[in-house]
């Protein structure tokens, strides 16, 4: 076939351009590790990748949520443990004071200890979450101190009032799944999260029961101490046990959800990688091929362009 001299050079320029753009694309894949970067590279893979990235961001946020509430759950647990210690000591006092052989002086000592324990307990339930500076047991009204103690002239506790509410926040730990680690100080509504100190469903009312115990000890009413007070304190003990168990359950659920979120995120990384990552071996081989082809084209063209009938004319 007859070939125009310029057709040859035009074709050569086109071939160089194709080979050069192939090299650029492969080089870009090697340096970024991605086989696609723009939507037009592979629209379907791009859509899948964006979707996966969005799901991954959600999973990472769930992990972050879990981590935040885990730390809160740990703080709550430490308060619960201290409250249990107080509750145990109060039980011991009630048992010791039940005996009719106790002198009033002894009972007054016990009453003083109970007063001090009430103050300690109030201090505990007024604990703030170190992470947020908010009160742990005020329900969703956590900006103000939930429990306030009133005392008489002798320093005896006459009442503890609650100014929080009975609501708790739910936190999403997986798609469509939420938990609450919060414990309201008091819940007399008969529904919702069980109150830490007072709950109408279980009969728990720790502070009022402790105040009764304190007052009965001061009054030398050992019958009431061994009867009503001990029975009431048992309800409070049971309520605390429930709260510890609930906290444990939530923490277990958080651990499971955390592992799930991490494994989901890892698996999404795999999917994203499958859809958008360049395969090193293949890409490098293709890059070498493209380079070889480009070099060959340059060399052969340079050699052929030297040749013309002009070289042989005298």
């Amino acid at each position: 076939m007859r070939i125009g001299t310029n057709s040859y050079t035009d074709t050569m320029i086109d071939q160089f351009s194709v080979l050069k753009s192939q090299q650029d694309k492969l080089q870009n894949e090697v340096s970024t590790g991605l086989s696609i970067s723009a939507p037009s590279d592979d629209p379907a893979a791009m859509e899948t990748t964006l979707d996966d990235l969005s799901s991954q961001a959600a999973q990472q946020q769930f992990s972050s949520n879990i981590s935040t509430v885990q730390s809160k759950a740990n703080f709550i647990y430490s308060v619960l443990q201290s409250l249990q210690t107080i509750s145990n000591r109060v039980g011991e006092i009630a048992t010791s004071a039940s005996s009719a052989t106790n002198s009033q002086t002894n009972l007054n000592h016990y009453a003083g200890e109970v007063t001090s324990l009430i103050q300690q307990a109030v201090q505990l339930v007024n604990t703030k979450d170190p992470a947020t500076g908010q009160y742990l047991f005020g329900g969703t009204n956590s900006g103000q101190q939930p429990f306030t103690v009133t005392t008489d002239a002798n320093g005896n506790v006459t009442g503890v009032t609650y100014s929080g509410n009975s609501s708790v926040n739910q936190t999403e730990i997986a798609s469509g799944s939420a938990v609450s680690v919060d414990v309201p100080g008091e819940n007399t509504s008969g529904s919702g999260a069980q109150g830490l100190i007072t709950d109408s469903r279980t009969g728990a009312d720790l502070f009022n029961h402790l105040i009764s115990l304190q007052n009965d000890l001061l009054a030398g009413n050992t019958t009431a101490v061994s009867g009503t007070d001990t029975a009431n304190l048992q309800n409070d003990e049971n309520n605390l046990t429930y709260q510890v168990a609930y906290n444990g359950n939530v923490q277990t659920r958080l651990n499971t959800a955390s592992s799930f979120a991490t494994s989901q995120s890892n698996s999404l990384t795999g999917l994203i990688s499958n859809a958008s990552s360049a395969d090193l071996a293949t890409t490098m081989t293709q890059l070498t091929q493209a380079q070889t082809a480009y070099q060959a084209a340059l060399e052969s063209s340079a050699a052929i362009m030297q040749l013309s009938i002009l070289n042989f004319l005298q």
Partner: protein
């Protein structure tokens, strides 16, 4: 019998004939790099013989024509392919600019050497939407945290700015495409006028019996350039003039430009093309003009509308939930976003300056309630009726994929057209292109023939000298 003087005359004509061959080879070599040049060849015919008693005797040769070596079918094919190439190139340019406006690119943070541990991020709205909903979750988890709220407001501002930016860039693209259409129309008018002028010169030359090879090349080039702008229909008259129609309207007839074309606003800044004097709206079918119009009114318009719908749905949904919530001071009713679409979306300035005004709580008396923040976070996975029952990220993903599809098609078509055009150009080159080796060989051939004819003159001169010497001796 020719005799000495007749043969001398034969030698003289032969010198002229071979010289013409040398001239044509020279012209071909001189134009080897001229765009659109068609190689020429000299047609040499034997001169009429004369009868003698011993039979017919030749009288040499004459150069009777200098012709273009051209294949009209190839030229027509190239013309028609030009309009397809122009169409897809215009689409490609417009869609590439749209893809850049969207700025939805994947970034790899590692090299392929560690591809298994690469983290991939994206730079556009998709990632920013994810961040917004993740921030709602963060506030839901720590409702009273000011830093979580600040992060939310900051990310929401970035998202709003990206919406604004995409919208501005798409508006700019639209203006640029309209300008480009106007430029194409101007170029087409110049070409139409040029073709009419060339028709005139070609007809005159044709009338005078000449073959205006270079003018034909020039007109062919103009027709191809015009085809690149829009699909044209041509017909060649008996006098060599080419009539040109665009969109069914005859615009060049012989040496007359019957009408020119111009852009007109079909409403809302949507420029289309019509005839300037006749005011007939043209339905174009190819070329860069239609490519530009199709990209502007097709994928770009669809994309801009999708982005606007996405922004307006986001504004409505977030505001509806947010305005029902309470901020850290227990008041409610404020919007989270201001504006109504991608062009106008901003974060409420009051919230931006004081993140505690973000209304995360469902109760005026419960500062750390998170129910409203949770509802906002749940929007991420809620199908929106305004978005064809898709979530925000799914709807946006589809917009991105649709643009990617269109651009991929345009890229493929441009590559295909390049291959087709190259193939046709090579074919045309094989017929009409200048080949140095061939021209040099022809040159040598004519040079040798010229030398031989010159030798004939020398010989005849000697013979004439001999004849004259007979008388003097």
């Amino acid at each position: 019998m020719l005799g000495l003087l007749g043969t001398l005359n034969l030698a003289s004509r032969s010198l002229q004939t071979q010289m013409t061959g040398v001239e044509v080879a020279g012209q071909n070599l001189a134009n080897i790099n001229t765009t659109g040049y068609t190689r020429q060849s000299v047609e040499i015919q034997t001169s009429p013989d004369i009868s003698t008693t011993i039979g017919p005797e030749g009288t040499g040769a004459n150069a009777v024509a200098i012709q273009q070596v051209v294949n009209a079918i190839l030229n027509n094919q190239i013309q028609s392919q030009q309009s397809t190439s122009g169409y897809w190139s215009a689409q490609q340019t417009a869609l590439q600019s749209a893809q850049t406006s969207l700025n939805e690119f994947l970034n790899g943070t590692g090299s392929a050497t560690s591809s298994s541990t690469n983290s991939t991020t994206d730079t556009g709205l998709s990632g920013q939407l994810s961040s917004l909903f993740a921030d709602f979750q963060s506030v839901a988890t720590s409702p009273t945290s000011i830093s979580a709220r600040q992060q939310l407001i900051s990310d929401a501002q970035t998202l709003a700015a990206t919406f604004n930016q995409i919208n501005t860039q798409l508006d700019t693209s639209r203006t640029t495409l309209n300008t480009s259409l106007g430029n194409d129309v101007d170029s087409a008018n110049k070409l139409l006028s040029g073709i009419a002028d060339l028709n005139k010169q070609i007809s005159t030359a044709d009338f005078n019996g000449a073959t205006p090879n270079d003018l034909l090349d020039e007109r062919e080039q103009d027709l191809e350039n015009l085809s690149n702008l829009t699909n044209i229909t041509t017909s060649t008259g008996t006098n060599g003039a080419v009539d040109v129609s665009i969109g069914g309207q005859s615009l060049v007839s012989g040496n007359q430009v019957l009408d020119t074309i111009q852009t007109y606003d079909a409403g809302g800044g949507q420029l289309l093309v019509q005839t300037a004097t006749g005011g007939v709206n043209l339905t174009l079918t190819g070329g860069s003009m239609q490519g530009t119009i199709d990209a502007r009114d097709g994928e770009l318009a669809t994309m801009q509308s999708s982005i606007n719908t996405l922004a307006s749905t986001l504004i409505t949904q977030v505001n509806t939930i947010h305005s029902g919530g309470f901020n850290l001071t227990g008041t409610n009713g404020a919007n989270f976003f201001n504006g109504s679409d991608a062009a106008t979306i901003t974060v409420n300035a009051a919230l931006a300056s004081n993140p505690s005004l973000f209304q995360a709580s469902g109760s005026a008396t419960a500062n750390s309630d998170n129910s409203v923040a949770r509802q906002l976070a749940d929007l991420a996975s809620t199908a929106q009726s305004g978005l064809n029952n898709q979530t925000f990220s799914d709807s946006y993903g589809q917009t991105v994929a649709a643009l990617g599809d269109s651009l991929q098609t345009a890229n493929d078509q441009v590559n295909n057209q390049t291959a087709v055009t190259n193939m046709l150009s090579t074919q045309r080159g094989s017929v009409s292109g200048v080949n140095v080796d061939e021209e040099m060989t022809n040159l040598m051939s004519f040079q040798r023939a010229y030398e031989a004819s010159a030798q004939l003159v020398t010989t005849l001169n000697t013979m004439l000298g001999d004849v004259l010497a007979m008388k003097t001796s």
